[in-house]
């Protein structure tokens, strides 16, 4: 990835921007945009955002401090696939009237047969509002008269009754943007901390303007700070394999209220520090107070009766909660329904399940603490920015002697000794008055390892028949264990799908309930050999799922994130029929990336009637920057060429 730089205004001139001239007025269209055939800097784009604009300002509406965001979007449709851009959905949190969407209007522009601009208005009657659930509603509309070549635009105001959090501004989207402008005007009594994360040039300007704000008849502020940020020609962010959270790559502005300087000289620290947030959380009814509830669980007490060491107690409680509670799919750091209700319903949000786990661990005398985490999908945690919105789960952090464990009760398969795979590499915050603070969720010793061991014989009818054992260790075990438990009948597909004619029987899977042992998958297999004339041939690359190269794209915009170092092994012996011999065996080889982080090794040893082999593929890194993609891509191409090489046998001519 091109690294997102933290841009501070000090690095820039405060230049007077020509933005107002640059951004055409709502309702006015330049004919040349209607004649446009492609986006000049992203030629494959299906649609092109010509204007992406937000102006955020403060207002007092019905006694509520309100943040008003005026939004404007103008989009050019370049291809059929871009037409869906004209179906617009705006979701908002209307719980307790917190957020509202107003002042929606829009136009579509086309060129008519005589080459004149034809303008179609979005009618009010075509705008719908639906309540999605108790918290969220959605405004939806579809722009009229849109076809390939059209330009349409719409605007709306988004009103939120809070000045504490201001929605992040994203300069970037999944279609390219010509100009992305963000302006924020706030009474000077409100001090914000703000981060601009970008790799492109951001034009900025600041201004101090006169602006009187009255609250209950009192003048509380007489001027306001205005800041504007502009990026031009912003490319789209593609969807790529192994890319991690989209959010981490999008250029953006993040703001949070930090302080209020009242006219009387009083200063209120709104946002101060992580420890302060943690203290507040511990006092929060939906957080710390939940950890003081008392759950009586006779069944669990019975299981714990004769267990004395803390580690085993932890395992029993962890498994008990995972077995009995169902995650309802909600991701939040809070318990909204309360853990007692969740316990009774046997269903709750991810944090509710974890609070129950922490409660029960503490009842058993263990040291367990809530741990604020963000999953990979939710994005990287920014430790410099005390904002709880970054997290989407509270896991359990357990300290036993000098060992620590991170448990997620909402994940039924991740073993206690492994950090949950979906938060690996991220920072997390332990919420506790004494031991609270940041930890990095990383343990270089834990990896993903999968080993195939096989022994087979080719008979005179050219059928290869044998036994295989597959051992899945560490992170390789979780997903397979889940598949085995939840979809047994299709489990062997992973071994048969990739090889034509492959037949697998007598599959036995063991150790699924023993955390410390690898998942063992033993089976018998049978596959007819491929042949051409006198030649028969077979592949040694069996049962690892390494048939197809996932990295065939020539370009890469985002980092490759495998989540953990991986290790593949295929080892075995194959007997060939009497009277056959090997024809030009592939060589034993070793391939290493320039940075030595990926090593593939193939050792072949042929006897008269058998071949012994060992193929290993080891990664010592789990993340590859987009800038490394050149060598990575080339290595993968060669790797799959080598993996797919076949062993050829031929009937001896003189026998």
């Amino acid at each position: 990835m091109r690294k997102l730089l933290l841009i501070t205004p000090l690095l820039f001139f405060c230049c007077q921007l020509l933005a107002d001239e640059e951004i055409p007025k709502f309702g006015n269209i330049d004919k040349s945009d209607l004649q446009l055939k492609e986006c000049e800097f992203d030629k494959n784009a299906d649609a092109y955002k010509l204007i992406s604009y937000r102006y955020v300002h403060f207002d007092i509406i019905a006694d509520h401090f309100t943040v008003v965001a005026e939004n404007r979007i103008r989009i050019k449709i370049l291809k059929d696939k871009g037409l869906d851009e004209a179906n617009i959905k705006i979701r908002f949190l209307n719980h307790n009237n917190f957020e509202n969407i107003n002042e929606i209007s829009g136009y579509t522009y086309n060129l008519d047969n005589s080459g004149e601009v034809e303008k179609t208005k979005l009618e009010k009657s075509s705008i719908y509002i639906k309540k999605l659930n108790n918290r969220y509603s959605e405004v939806s509309f579809t722009m009229p008269n849109v076809k390939v070549g059209s330009v349409f635009e719409y605007k709306f105001d988004d009103l939120q009754r809070s000045i504490q959090y201001i929605d992040d501004w994203y300069f970037q989207d999944d279609i390219p943007t010509r100009i992305s402008e963000y302006t924020i005007l706030m009474p000077s009594i409100f001090k914000f901390t703000r981060q601009v994360l970008a790799y492109q040039q951001v034009d900025q300007s600041s201004d101090l303007v006169n602006n009187n704000v009255y609250y209950h008849g009192n003048l509380i502020s007489n001027h306001a700070d205005e800041k504007t940020y502009i990026i031009r020609n912003v490319p789209s962010l593609p969807d790529e394999p192994f890319m991690g959270a989209e959010k981490d790559y999008l250029q953006r502005v993040v703001s949070q209220l930090s302080r209020i300087d009242y006219p009387n000289g009083e200063v209120e620290e709104v946002m101060s520090s992580w420890p302060k947030l943690a203290t507040e959380l511990l006092d929060d009814d939906d957080y710390g107070m939940q950890l003081k509830k008392n759950l009586k669980v006779a069944e669990l007490d019975a299981q714990l009766q004769n267990v004395n060491d803390d580690y085993h107690k932890m395992l029993i409680i962890h498994n008990f909660v995972r077995k009995n509670m169902n995650w309802d799919g909600r991701e939040t750091i809070y318990s909204t329904q309360g853990i007692k209700t969740a316990w009774d319903k046997k269903s709750g949000s991810n944090s509710e399940l974890n609070f129950i786990l922490i409660d029960l661990l503490r009842d058993a005398g263990l040291k367990a603490y809530p741990l604020l985490v963000s999953t990979k999908d939710n994005g990287t945690v920014n430790t410099l920015y005390p904002f709880l919105g970054q997290f989407n789960n509270s896991m359990a952090y357990v300290v036993i002697g000098d060992k620590t464990f991170v448990l997620n009760a909402a994940d039924k398969y991740n073993p206690a000794y492994l950090i949950p795979y979906d938060v690996l590499g991220n920072y997390a915050y332990v919420v506790d008055k004494e031991i609270g603070g940041w930890i990095r969720l990383q343990n270089p010793k834990d990896n993903w390892k999968n080993m195939v061991s096989l022994f087979a014989t080719i008979d005179s009818n050219n059928v290869m028949e044998g036994n295989a054992s597959v051992y899945s260790y560490g992170y390789a075990k979780n997903t397979r264990e889940k598949d085995w438990i939840e979809s047994k009948s299709t489990y062997s597909d992973r071994f048969t799908d990739a090889v034509a004619g492959m037949n697998v029987k007598n599959l036995e899977v063991s150790n699924e309930n023993v955390d410390t042992l690898p998942l063992q998958q033993k089976f018998e297999f049978k596959v007819p050999l491929n042949s051409s004339g006198d030649y028969k041939y077979f592949s040694l690359n069996l049962f690892q799922g390494l048939e197809k190269n996932p990295f065939i794209a020539d370009e890469r915009k985002t980092d490759i994130d495998f989540n953990f170092p991986k290790s593949y092994i295929i080892v075995g012996k194959i007997n060939i029929p009497e009277g056959y011999e090997f024809e030009g065996l592939p060589k034993s080889i070793k391939m290493i990336t320039p940075d030595t982080s990926i090593v593939m090794q193939r050792i072949l040893q042929a006897e008269t009637n058998a071949i012994d082999f060992r193929i290993t593929l080891d990664f010592t890194r789990s993340v590859y920057a987009a800038s490394d993609y050149g060598f990575f891509h080339e290595f993968y191409k060669q790797l799959f060429n080598k993996l797919n090489e076949q062993i050829v046998i031929k009937k001896k001519t003189n026998s």
Binding site: N44, K79, K81, N133, D328, S532, D534, I552, N641
Partner: protein, 626 residues
């Protein structure tokens, strides 16, 4: 305490405790992931516009593969209001462990498109261990009676211990039903004003799941139930015949064909030079495809009333009904008669039964009749050719909405010659195994749409993805592509630079694939005992010609043998020729599947045939240094 509770529950039933998984007979466990222990469905029609349903189910879930049975999901909307939903959960021994009321369930607004249609209540029951048992109870009030709830007796991999469906209807309305995949007569009793039907089954063994069969709702035992007379939002209708149902549908869209005089003359002007109706249809259809777009948006009478033509004319969008209606209005404006046609779309849906008029339609297309030369138009696609439907709506019975009511007619049969894929590749092979190739690909019908969608309209890396992943091409180091969209076909030319052409080498020999991509990929499911027809997406013809130009110092050591395989529904032919003078190898292949539905008893034969096609690719051309 627990024991006495279990006892109390079991005492309600004379023979056994159905909440206790251990009471299940072995015969019901075989091939089953769950067992319907008890099911009682009571459906009562009070009046033409009011009916009530109550459902009670007890299901024992045997393992995680039936965990879908632990997911409760019911819709509630203006025509169908859900109430009193409750879930009870029991452990393996039948001990009650939990109860969930409707207010504890989650709900979310739903709607196919932009507009809200109602809510779905859902809840997932936790499964600490298997087996376990769940009990579902709920009531539904119907305010629209177009649909009577069908009796879905059994789905695959579920055994049924006891199930009973009772329908009570006013004698003057009555109902009609159809047996599907089961021979089961109702017990019918009549009273002065009402009539009662009771269907009941016991001890049904689990049926296996057969991959690739027709849609589940048409493949497993059920009683399909339908009203004779119904009412939706005050619009009374009649399902006793297709004709009458068509009349009802026509009332809904009455007056929706109006276009302004200005639009009419605009359209007339557009076709003024056309010499035939066919040409006019083509012009107007093309106008529709390039200026209007499909948006899923349903309004009015449960989504049955189309937007009128004027609305679509102004907004330039609509759903299938609205766009078909608009196309009809345009044709009408230039004096061509056409009818909307209701259809049950999706390649694996069997045609509706002409003898059982009911509403199982989910899509609308347009039919332009012309004695023996009818034109069918799919109005939601920007790519299809006029007159070509594709397997989405082919092989079906469509209900034409004519001024004289509904008329059921067959849509065209899918033809292999309409879905063709031709590829010709010339490849120059170098000493070091690298090569340069040029391919010309021409595709029609379903392949044309695929190529437009996945190759022509995408970014360069996605084009590569399509060639390598979908078609199985060797991974190119460099490639260039030219596309040409013709009226009835998509034509593509691409040049590849490949570092390693041979599949593998052994000593001085190169093992080349018969072609540098895969003619077909993926085999048919390995169903042991096939009882149901197998559905391909569409019939097709694929042909390939690949010409290898060998390096000067190489010659052929082995060519695969020519194939000439035939089976009831297709054929596969290959031929390999070495031209010594030019030092080229030419490989020809042609595979045809003549029809897309394969009868169950021909399945094994079909599977073997396609395995043979796949196997051919594993045979190699062997070339060796002279």
């Amino acid at each position: 305490m627990a024991a006495s509770l279990a006892f109390a529950v079991s005492s309600c039933f004379s023979q056994e405790n159905i909440y206790d998984a251990s009471t299940l007979p072995d015969s019901l466990l075989k091939d089953a992931h769950s067992v319907m222990r008890e099911e009682t469905i009571n459906f009562e029609v009070k009046d033409i516009d009011f009916a009530k349903l109550s459902v009670h189910k007890v299901i024992t879930v045997l393992d995680a593969e039936a965990e879908d049975e632990l997911f409760f999901e019911e819709q509630s909307d203006g025509f169908r209001k859900l109430s009193n939903a409750e879930i009870k959960v029991f452990d393996a021994h039948g001990k009650p462990v939990n109860t969930y009321k409707m207010k504890e369930m989650h709900s979310i607004a739903i709607g196919d498109g932009l507009v809200v249609d109602g809510q779905v209540y859902y809840f997932r029951v936790a499964a600490p261990s298997y087996p376990m048992t769940v009990e579902y109870d709920y009531d539904v009030k119907y305010k629209g009676t177009l649909f009577y709830p069908n009796y879905w007796i059994q789905f695959p991999e579920q055994a049924v211990e006891h199930s009973k469906y009772t329908a009570t209807v006013p004698i003057d309305l009555d109902l009609k039903y159809k047996q599907q995949q089961i021979n089961l007569r109702p017990a019918v009793t009549s009273e002065a004003k009402s009539k009662t039907y009771v269907w009941e089954v016991k001890e049904l063994k689990a049926l296996p799941f057969e991959e690739g069969c027709a849609s589940a709702e048409s493949s497993y035992p059920a009683i399909l139930i339908s009203p004779n007379k119904f009412s939706m939002d005050g619009y009374k209708g009649d399902l006793s015949s297709w004709k009458n149902f068509g009349e009802w549908y026509a009332t809904l869209s009455k007056g929706s064909l109006n276009l302004s005089d200005e639009t009419k003359s605009f359209l007339k002007n557009m076709v003024k030079d056309a010499t035939s109706d066919k040409e006019k249809i083509k012009i107007l259809y093309h106008y529709l495809q390039s200026n209007f777009r499909y948006v899923s948006i349903q309004l009015g009478i449960g989504g049955y009333k189309p937007f009128d033509a004027n609305f679509v004319d102004q907004k330039k969008y609509g759903d299938c009904k609205a766009l078909s209606n608009y196309m009809q209005a345009m044709l009408d404006a230039v004096g061509i008669v056409s009818y909307p046609a209701l259809i049950n779309a999706e390649y694996n849906k069997p045609p509706v039964d002409p003898l059982f008029p009911n509403n199982s339609f989910n899509h609308v297309i347009l039919c332009v009749p012309d004695k023996g030369d009818t034109t069918w138009l799919e109005c939601t696609s920007n790519e299809t050719d006029p007159g070509v439907l594709g397997s989405f709506t082919e092989n079906r019975n469509a209900l034409l909405i004519t001024p004289n009511g509904g008329v059921l007619v067959a849509t065209p049969k899918s033809k292999a010659c309409e879905n063709t894929f031709h590829l010709t590749t010339k490849i120059k092979l170098n000493d070091d195994g690298s090569g340069e190739s040029e391919s010309v690909m021409t595709s029609k019908g379903e392949y044309k749409e695929e190529v437009i969608d996945l190759l022509m309209n995408v970014k360069k890396d996605d084009q590569k993805e399509f060639l390598v992943r979908r078609l199985g091409f060797l991974q190119p180091d460099e490639f260039a592509i030219k596309t040409d969209r013709k009226a009835d076909s998509a034509c593509t030319t691409f040049n590849l630079k490949i570092e390693k052409v041979p599949e593998f080498t052994a000593g001085s020999k190169m093992f080349l694939n018969p072609r540098i991509y895969k003619l077909l990929d993926g085999s048919l499911p390995d169903t042991k005992r096939r009882t149901k027809d197998y559905y391909f997406r569409f019939p097709f013809i694929k042909t390939d010609t690949t010409i290898y130009q060998l390096p000067a110092d190489y010659t052929v050591e082995n060519l695969p043998s020519a194939k000439n395989a035939q089976f009831d529904f297709g054929s596969f032919n290959t031929k390999y020729i070495y031209d010594e003078k030019a030092n080229t190898i030419t490989s020809f292949a042609r595979v045809e599947l003549a029809q897309n539905v394969i009868p169950a008893d021909k399945f094994t034969e079909t599977r073997n045939f396609f395995n043979g096609v796949m196997k051919e690719f594993s045979e190699k051309i062997v070339v060796t240094q002279k």
